[in-house]
């Protein structure tokens, strides 16, 4: 595959000329990443984890490494993507941190490139320690190109009162690839609410390959929201990896509206006992969009509970893939795990694949899963019509409910309202 060589070549050029200011440990991390990527190459559909998703458009495409943002938008131009005027905010354009559009919060909400130097020990302690690169070529490639992204650190017992906005904008002017790398660390009993958004100012094709590591200390709680509304011709590949301490809480919400091809690997490790996880996702697709969510919940400790809900709404010729792997390790007794994946097919050409994968190695656990794929329920349709609601409105209402069920679990009101708006717009179209 020519493209693998092209990416490796581009890495070599960059590493030898331009990435030079990095500390030695970071250079080592990158070298490990590129070596792993070179060895793995792009995945193919013969691999179990990629059975339903072909990355050929990415592997055979040509994406340049951007040298600088194609243009820097005004604050006015990015306002449609901002949930709040105030509060900590980091904005990246074509992968580059835009200080003029951002409001960092000291060195706790900062660009990663900045803190790599200022808080080297802290970054080094966590960066690359959670998102695996073994068998994961995209994560490996991102690691090779680690340079910038969002850094959020919440000290012990601290609470960032306002939601932190992390906004990754593509100009869409050129077919570039970006590798945003985000690191979120909550120390013990800290709290934060974070919204990570991917969007585009233009309509051109590009490729985002992001990795986010989220480390949640004992007794800490994070409400993490991820919004993928990339341009219709974009490619989006992402890894989100969390690691939870004892008695911690993670509410991880993810919505996918955009991109021609999207793949999101979500990994969660419940490493301390008494942890709680809500993994809540929505994909709303149309046209020829393809979105693949590959989730793994790893119950590595006892007395943890996880609730996973993914709903897909698939119109026209779109395709949704959901894999929900749940691992209950030996000793993870009293695990309580529940998974549901419901797919609504709005057209006969739409398609959904749903595969639960339960691996249970402890005996005193409660694990349930269920998945559905199908059109709107005719009984529900008649029920609404029998109340005076016109058939077309009834269809829209039922479809909206499918999405609203997921959005309703989000605590950030402004975000919920914004997503609600996007969903209604899409359904009205």
């Amino acid at each position: 595959m020519a493209h693998v060589d092209q990416l490796v070549g581009s890495y070599r050029a960059w590493a030898s000329n331009g990435a030079g200011r990095a500390p030695a440990w970071l250079k080592d991390l990158r070298e490990g990443g590129i070596a792993r990527f070179h060895e793995l190459g792009f995945p193919n559909m013969k691999q179990e984890a990629w059975r339903f998703t072909s990355v050929a458009p990415i592997a055979e495409g040509s994406f340049e490494q951007a040298q600088a943002p194609a243009r820097v938008p005004t604050l006015e131009a990015i306002r449609p993507f901002l949930l709040f005027e105030a509060g900590p905010r980091l904005v990246f354009v074509d992968g580059f941190f835009e200080r003029s559009l951002s409001t960092p919060f000291f060195d706790d909400v900062q660009s990663l490139a900045h803190v790599v130097h200022h808080r080297q020990d802290l970054v080094r302690q966590y960066l690359g320690k959670y998102a695996a690169t073994d068998g994961r070529p995209f994560s490996a490639l991102n690691t090779a190109f680690v340079k910038d992204g969002a850094f959020v650190h919440v000290p012990a017992r601290a609470n960032i009162a306002e939601p932190v906005q992390l906004l990754f904008l593509a100009t869409g002017d050129k077919p570039i690839v970006t590798h945003p790398r985000n690191l979120v660390v909550l120390e013990r009993e800290a709290r934060a609410s974070i919204v990570e958004t991917y969007a585009s100012l233009g309509k051109g094709a590009y490729w985002t390959n992001s990795v986010t590591e989220i480390v949640v200390g004992d007794g800490a709680r994070v409400d993490y929201h991820r919004v993928q509304r990339e341009a219709a011709r974009a490619y989006h590949v992402a890894t989100t990896q969390t690691h939870q301490g004892r008695d911690s809480t993670v509410h991880l919400h993810t919505v996918a509206f955009g991109a021609a091809l999207a793949r999101h690997d979500i990994g969660t490790v419940m490493a301390g006992s008494g942890g709680t996880l809500i993994l809540n996702g929505l994909y709303l697709l149309a046209g020829q969009q393809h979105a693949d969510h590959h989730t793994t919940i790893d119950h590595a400790a006892d007395h943890c509970e996880s609730h996973e809900y993914f709903n897909g709404v698939l119109d026209e010729k779109s395709r949704g893939v959901f894999t929900g792997r749940i691992i209950v390790r030996p000793g993870a007794q009293k695990t309580d795990s529940k998974q549901t994946n419901n797919n609504l097919l709005l057209s006969t050409d739409a398609h959904a694949d749903s595969q639960p994968q339960l691996e249970i190695y402890a005996d005193d656990v409660k694990c349930t899963h269920g998945s559905t794929v199908g059109p709107l329920d005719p009984r529900a349709l008649f029920y609404l019509r029998s109340r005076g609601i016109a058939e077309a409105d009834a269809r829209r209402l039922l479809t909206y409910g499918f999405a609203a069920e997921i959005l309703g679990r989000m605590d950030v009101v402004a975000l919920r309202a914004e997503l609600d708006h996007i969903v209604r717009d899409r359904l009205a179209a």
């Binding site: 609404l384 019509r385 499918f402």
Partner: protein
């Protein structure tokens, strides 16, 4: 008593589902403000009658006619019937994920108001209407912010149907086995609400297998449906008689007729 105008006139109605004829010539006339009960053994066609009047697409009308307020009911879509005042309280209310009861009910009420040429209600105005209705039937708003029927107990689902009835203010309310699955307290609560909703401009068709609901809601007329036909009609005392004697004697009567 002056003879009131017929709201519903069912004539020689024959209805099939999946190719099987269930209703084999039903005649039924309900005047404004009257409460009729339809009783009958399982499989007699009671629910079929309720569903076909509401416009369920699975039921095939083979013969006969139904006039509602002078109009041909079978010319109307289910939503048109509802907007014109036909309401079916379902035997098995459907769960609607992601839509709160209050949003659902407001959407329905606004569809009906629009049809009547009345302005649509915003969420705040709707809450006021809702509060007033709840007060009238003596209920609280605990079910309003939950998704429609999702995770509701059997009793809550039936109560929710009656709440919708109260808010949508139909002219013809059809209650399909509303008493099934209710304990005695829930039954009384539902019956009390229905009694509050009775009025000269509202007719009821109460479909039930047992007489016990009729202990609390006194009907004007009781019909017995057996094998797809109404085989006997009478006053409230007929319900008592059925409770005492069962249905078999009437079924036999239907066979010989």
């Amino acid at each position: 008593m002056a003879k009131q105008k017929a709201l519903l006139e069912v004539k020689q109605l024959r209805v099939a589902v999946a190719g099987n004829e269930i209703l084999k010539g039903v005649d039924l006339t309900i005047a404004d403000g009257e409460v009729h009960a339809i009783m009958g053994p399982n499989g007699s066609g009671k629910s079929t009658l309720a569903q076909v009047l509401a416009g369920h697409p699975a039921y095939e009308v083979r013969a006969g006619s139904v006039k509602y307020d002078g109009k041909d009911l079978f010319d109307m879509d289910p939503e048109e019937r509802a907007r014109d005042g036909v309401f079916l309280a379902f035997q098995y209310p459907v769960e609607i994920r992601g839509i709160t009861n209050s949003y659902f009910l407001r959407s329905a009420l606004n569809a009906i108001r629009k049809h009547r040429g009345e302005p649509e209600l915003d969420p705040i105005d709707f809450l006021q209407v809702l509060e007033q209705k709840l007060k009238a039937i003596g209920w609280d708003d605990s079910m309003m912010n939950r998704p429609v029927n999702e995770g509701f107990s059997g009793g809550e689902k039936k109560r929710n149907e009656i709440l919708q009835l109260a808010v949508l203010e139909p002219r013809l309310a059809i209650l399909d086995e509303t008493d099934s699955g209710l304990d005695i307290d829930a039954l009384k609560t539902v019956a009390h609400a229905v009694n509050q909703l009775r009025g000269p401009k509202r007719s009821f068709l109460i479909v039930t297998h047992y007489q016990r609901l009729l202990n609390h809601i006194t009907p004007d007329v009781v019909h017995v449906l057996a094998d797809g036909r109404i085989v006997k009609s009478g006053g409230p005392e007929l319900a008592q008689e059925l409770e005492a004697k069962g249905y078999d004697w009437l079924r036999d009567a239907a066979m010989v007729s």
